[in-house]
């Protein structure tokens, strides 16, 4: 049941990303190119997704104590605005601006079958794996 619902929700998410233009690097880069070939479409993606989610979350949290298929809501608990958050987000923006790909856009784009998506995904997964290894090694050192 959990697997099936996750699959269906993934399909809705992937369809939304693909239809919206978020999986198209040319469209993403044009959204940020105010001084050139500006395409404001992505403002409608972000606006539509954000307003829908904000209303829906309010309803979910207002009417339910726990989710339908799990024991509790797993919400991020870290509240600290630290240098790791800021530096990481800044770097993500640089990479997004270089490629036009973000994780949420690139994963559905795999389904379109272009080699450039696989190249980006391989590089991104390498970046995630190496960074996680370093963070975990540091955490172990601090504990020891």
């Amino acid at each position: 049941m959990r697997i099936t619902t996750a699959l269906i929700i993934g399909i809705i998410f992937g369809l939304g990303i693909a239809l919206s233009g978020m999986a198209n690097p040319a469209k993403v880069l044009n959204f940020f190119d105010f001084a050139g070939t500006w395409d404001p479409s992505l403002a409608f993606v972000m606006g539509g997704a954000l307003i829908t989610t904000a209303i829906g979350y309010r309803f979910v949290f207002g009417t339910r104590k726990e989710p339908l298929l799990a024991g509790a809501f797993s919400l991020p608990t870290n509240r600290e605005i630290d240098s790791r958050l800021v530096v990481g987000s800044a770097l993500f923006g640089v990479g997004w601006g270089i490629t036009g790909f973000c994780p949420g856009g690139a994963i559905p784009a795999i389904g379109l079958g272009y080699g450039s998506t696989f190249l980006f995904m391989g590089a991104m997964i390498a970046g995630i794996a190496v960074t996680r290894t370093i963070i975990n090694a540091r955490a172990r050192t601090v504990r020891a």
Partner: protein, 142 residues
């Protein structure tokens, strides 16, 4: 390279993304952040990798099914392979350090009015815009 302005299609896509985020919270109690979901299936995989893998497979299958039944989805990559490789690594490092990306911070976190997500989103939107300006209008393309 210009792209077509698609306000209605993009709004509809955005609403679908929002519906997916609501459903994942209502059923699994999880934020629909692609970085976090993907990280759980990269070794060392998390214990609850099953629903994560199913979500990712669904997300990948959707555009494939849509195009297979005759739909068309515009796609173009206006940068070099070297830029994709270098930018890809930077995205991977950034989303891991920053604990999220457009879907996690920009949609789910902002919808919860999380201060961390609001800061993260403002920071990455700004650096993306600066990077696009620098690569296109100062460097003249990469």
């Amino acid at each position: 390279m210009a792209t077509e302005f698609t306000p209605f299609l993009s709004l509809a896509g955005g609403v679908l993304i929002g519906i997916a985020a609501i459903l994942l919270m209502a059923t699994h109690g999880r934020v629909a952040g692609m970085t976090g979901i993907l990280a759980g299936v990269i070794p060392p995989v998390s214990a609850d990798w099953g629903w994560r893998a199913a979500f990712l497979i669904g997300a990948i299958a959707a555009p494939a099914i849509y195009t297979a039944i005759g739909g068309s989805i515009a796609f173009a990559v206006p940068v070099s392979a070297a830029a994709l490789a270098i930018g890809g690594v930077i995205v991977g490092v950034g989303v891991t350090l920053g604990s999220g990306c457009t879907s996690g911070h920009g949609v789910c976190g902002m919808a919860r009015l999380s201060p961390r997500s609001i800061v993260a989103t403002c920071v990455f939107m700004a650096t993306t815009a600066i990077t696009v300006f620098a690569t296109r209008h100062i460097a003249g393309g990469i």
